[in-house]
Amino acid sequence: MSTLLYKFQTYFQRWAAQRSPRSTQIVLRHRTIYVFPSKQGVALLLLVLLIWVLGTNYQNNIILGLAFFLLSLMLVSIIHAFKNLLGLTFSPETIQNAIVGEMAPFNIRIGSSYLTNHYGLLLTMDKTESVATDVIAGHAQIVNVGVTASHRGWLTLPRILLKSYFPFGLIRAWAYIDLDHRVLIFPQPIETALPPLGIGQGADGIYLSHQLGDEFQGFQTYQLGAPLARIAWKHYARGAGMYLKDYRALQSEHYWLDWDALSSHDIELRLSHLSYWVNEFSSKNIEFGLRLPRFTLELGVGDSHRLQALTALALFGCEDKRSGS
């Protein structure tokens, strides 16, 4: 019996998935909303039966009327439960990156195609955790759905079960929200004593960074769009043409983080160590480069450089076609 039920459930899930394909904007329509009596609804039906028997035994029409009223309430609840989900819109909101083992906080914007109220919305991904919200007067809400990041790389938002027991808890209305929403999960940083340094380290001395700084280095030819402050106006006044003054930061340290410098055979562990040092260097504003098999990130500092490095580490070895985007 339970296997039959299980078979039916899997069949239903597949059928429902076909009806609500993955998309970046989901609007709930009559095709994608399901309604069925809840446990309490079944309990109410039993109660109605009990009251009906009472009314019949006492030949009392008001008691029968009450039984019919409760039954009608259930009927009307079907419509209201359905209407409660109808027209809800779901779209992804911007998201913070997370590291392996953390909760990836997916933000979802829930709005409505109508200026109506949608009550008691419960968003569930697994059976334990759910998020509850109301959408009042069609005004959009942003809810945060946490997904545990179990591995690095792209984490897509799993299919969400949206359900509501509004108005009286007798009818369960539900829909599957398959939102095209993903976040990049970085490897978990694991501390090591020494950075995995490759060859070509400039530990001391004068080294010219690729970053702009305040140390004058010489002149460059003018490029369109260069800041006016950098134009060598004296040269221009002399009629020597347009030149740019070249300022560079003077970098005392720079390091190359190298894949091959790591001894561990565990790829994930290597990535974790590299991640640790990427963060470490970034927080101390130390210039670094990253050498991975078939990928090299040139020397640099700053937030975008750190993100580039971490992205490379997160997607290392992933055959994700969309990774380049």
């Binding site: 006492y58 030949q59 029968l64 009223f69 359905f82 009550y119 008691g120 955790e129 005004h139």
Partner: protein, 663 residues
């Protein structure tokens, strides 16, 4: 936005609401149940409130068992051991009250509300007037409101939730009516204990003073709708019981009559001794519960509905004691001849106690000798009543020889005295006679033209067997007080006596009387069409709607009308929801333009909102302050839908009234 991992606990709001609804649901039951149950509820509710405040704990197992045991002992002391209706209801109420102590999460809350639904249903067993139904459904609506707020995440205050929930409940009413009309009515599945409590009504004996209580009662006995014209007041003798046995104090049914009570005889054999003469009178009676078997009809019944039977002495009776309001239909012929059914009927109706009332016995024999025939004797006796007797509800006390005392000494009394002495006198003279009790007359409700018979209309009269004519009815009371039967009891009494008679509150005020009649008419129609809607009424109604009634047609009818109603409801709801085709900002701007249009300003096609509003401001400087605010808010709103801006904007819109500012 809240995270829901465990079932939510009960908020202060819902707890207070639950208490209030519990009080409403329980209150009607305390009219007939011991009041200590209310104390139990109060204690439990107080305990639960203290738990909510964090002062006390949930009861442990020992405390719970003690509470249950205490209540059981209380029930045992109150009701004894028999299974009675009141006991079952009390158990239910105690369970409902004590469950409060286990109220921890949402599931318990829902369970309590479901039990409350059932308790509302049981309250209708006891109270089934229109007002009770209204009250009960009001309770149900409040319970539904409590249920609904559980399934919302934003609850402001429960009082505000009432209207939205009522709005949904209203939509359930058409479906309820449909179900009420078409769902087949079945007979009882098993015998159920009925509420037993003292009900006023005619008893199975007539002793001195037994009518006094009835006459002081304003309670309803039964209501009658006549198919044709209502017969004149003096013809409305509602026959209840016939008493042939007298023990010197009480009139009761003779043993043979009592046996007949239990036998539901076939109508043919019973009616062979009745000659029906003249027109038929057809009427529907709705009798209030009396706890007795006998019912009331005009003599002589020709045919009657299936739910009642015909007994000897031209009586109708129910098959079981009437504990619920019951309706039946009778066709009577007001003119009839009633002949003897058996020979010993005459001897049984000559029975007198062995001793007592010697003067009456003597006088009766003497008068019989003087007059010669029973007819003349009756004539003489009635004229004696007419000359010497007065009708009063407050007669002097009678001694042991009560007939002697009444006939020859006090000569003041009412129907029970007149009928008793009349029958005694005739029997003593050798003329078979018996006492008939029932009701006489009734009040006509001017709103719906039906007859209301109250307990105070109780009456007793006599039947005398006359050779060649059969049993003939005489009413000595009518000789003494003709107004009693012509117009009703209130008209026949002196001012002092009227005080004794049960009278409705404010009977002297015309308006109140009219309102009372209106209310009674409403209740009567309610009883007639709603409470008494049974399988026969159902099939005739359904035949009117569908023609021939068959299972297939019925199913089709139910599905078609139910489905259509659901679709209509959905369409109605969808029409009412406004589609969000424009942003909030544009919506507000359009509303504003509508308001300004009343002043004659309309935006040009090329004008931006700001330009338009500036133009209006230039023309109407008095409006500049709100409009400038508007323009600013509007621009903020367009570049980012922020909820507080939106609310502010809507508030501004609502407050903006160009005409009011103008003057």
């Amino acid at each position: 936005m809240t995270s829901l991992s465990a079932p939510r606990t009960i908020s202060r709001n819902s707890l207070a609401w639950l208490f209030a609804v519990q009080v409403l649901v329980l209150a009607p039951h305390f009219f007939y149940l011991p009041l200590w149950l209310a104390v139990v509820w109060l204690l439990v509710a107080f305990w639960r409130w203290r738990i909510f405040q964090g002062a006390w704990n949930y009861p442990n197992k020992v405390q719970k068992s003690l509470a249950v045991a205490a209540c059981c002992v209380g029930l045992l002391l109150t009701f004894g051991s028999g299974v009675r209706f009141e006991l079952l209801i009390s158990l239910l109420l105690i369970g409902f009250s004590l469950k409060l102590l286990e109220l921890k999460n949402r599931t318990d809350f829902v369970l309590l509300i479901f039990i409350a639904f059932f308790i509302v249903a049981t309250q209708f067993i006891e109270f089934n007037q229109f007002a009770a139904a209204f009250y009960g459904f009001f309770c149900v609506a409040l319970l539904c409101t409590a249920l609904m707020q559980l399934y919302k995440n934003t609850v402001s205050s429960l009082v505000r939730e009432v209207l939205p929930s009522f709005y949904i409940l209203m939509q359930a009413i058409p479906f309820m009516l449909l179900l009420f009309i078409v769902v087949p009515r079945l007979g009882s599945f098993w015998a159920v204990p009925s509420p037993q409590h003292a009900k006023t009504g005619m008893s199975d004996a007539m002793a001195p003073g037994s009518f006094t209580e009835l006459m002081e009662s304003d309670e309803l006995a039964f209501r009658v709708t006549f198919t044709g014209k209502i017969p004149s007041h003096d013809k409305l003798y509602w026959r209840g019981l016939v008493f042939s046995f007298f023990d010197g104090n009480r009139w009761t049914q003779a043993r043979e009559q009592q046996i007949e009570n239990r036998v539901n005889q076939t109508s043919k054999r019973l009616r062979s001794h009745i000659d029906y003469i003249g027109d038929k009178t057809e009427y529907d009676v709705i009798a209030e519960p009396s706890g007795q078997m006998w019912l009331y009809a005009l003599a002589a019944p020709i045919s009657w509905s299936d739910n009642i039977g015909f007994a000897g002495d031209l009586r109708v009776q129910a098959f079981a004691p009437v504990t619920e309001r019951m309706s039946y239909k009778v066709i009577s012929s007001l003119n009839y001849n009633l002949h003897l059914r058996s020979d010993n009927e005459l001897t049984a109706n000559l029975q007198l106690p062995k001793s007592g009332n010697l003067k009456t016995r003597e006088q009766a024999k003497q008068w019989m000798q003087d007059t010669g025939t029973p007819e003349k004797l009756i004539e003489k006796l009635l004229s004696y009543y007419h000359q010497k007797f007065t009708y009063t509800l407050n007669p002097p006390a009678l001694g042991a020889n009560n007939v002697d005392d009444f006939l020859w000494r006090t000569q003041q009394g009412f129907c029970e005295h007149f009928s008793s002495s009349f029958v005694f006198f005739l029997r003593a003279a050798g003329v078979p006679a018996r006492v008939v009790v029932g009701y006489q007359g009734g009040d006509i409700n001017s709103i719906d033209n039906y007859l209301v018979v109250h307990q105070r209309d109780a009456h007793a009269w006599a039947e005398v067997w006359l050779e060649g004519r059969g049993w003939v009815m005489f009413d000595p009371t009518a000789i003494v007080a003709p107004e009693r039967v012509r117009k009703g009891i209130a008209e026949s009494l002196s001012a002092a006596d009227q005080k004794m008679l049960a009278k409705p509150f404010g009977a002297s005020l015309k308006l109140l009387l009219l309102a009372r009649e209106q209310w009674d008419a409403l209740n009567y129609q309610w009883t007639r069409w709603v409470m008494n809607y049974d399988s026969s009424l159902q099939s005739s109604l359904l035949e009117n709607i569908m023609g021939e009634v068959s299972a297939a047609r019925m199913a089709l009818f139910v599905l078609a009308s139910g489905g259509l109603a659901l679709l209509l409801l959905l369409a109605f709801l969808m029409l009412r929801t406004r589609k969000r085709d424009i942003s909030d900002a544009v919506f507000v701007y359009r509303q504003l333009c509508k308001k300004l249009a009343t002043l004659g300003f309309t935006p040009l096609p090329s004008e931006t909102p700001r330009a338009f509003l500036l133009r209006v401001t230039a023309a109407r400087t008095d409006l500049s302050a709100p409009l400038v605010r508007f323009a600013q808010l509007f621009e903020v709103m367009v570049y980012g839908e922020q909820s507080h801006i939106r609310d502010q904007l809507l508030k501004e819109l609502a407050a903006f009234n160009p005409r009011k500012v103008a003057f």
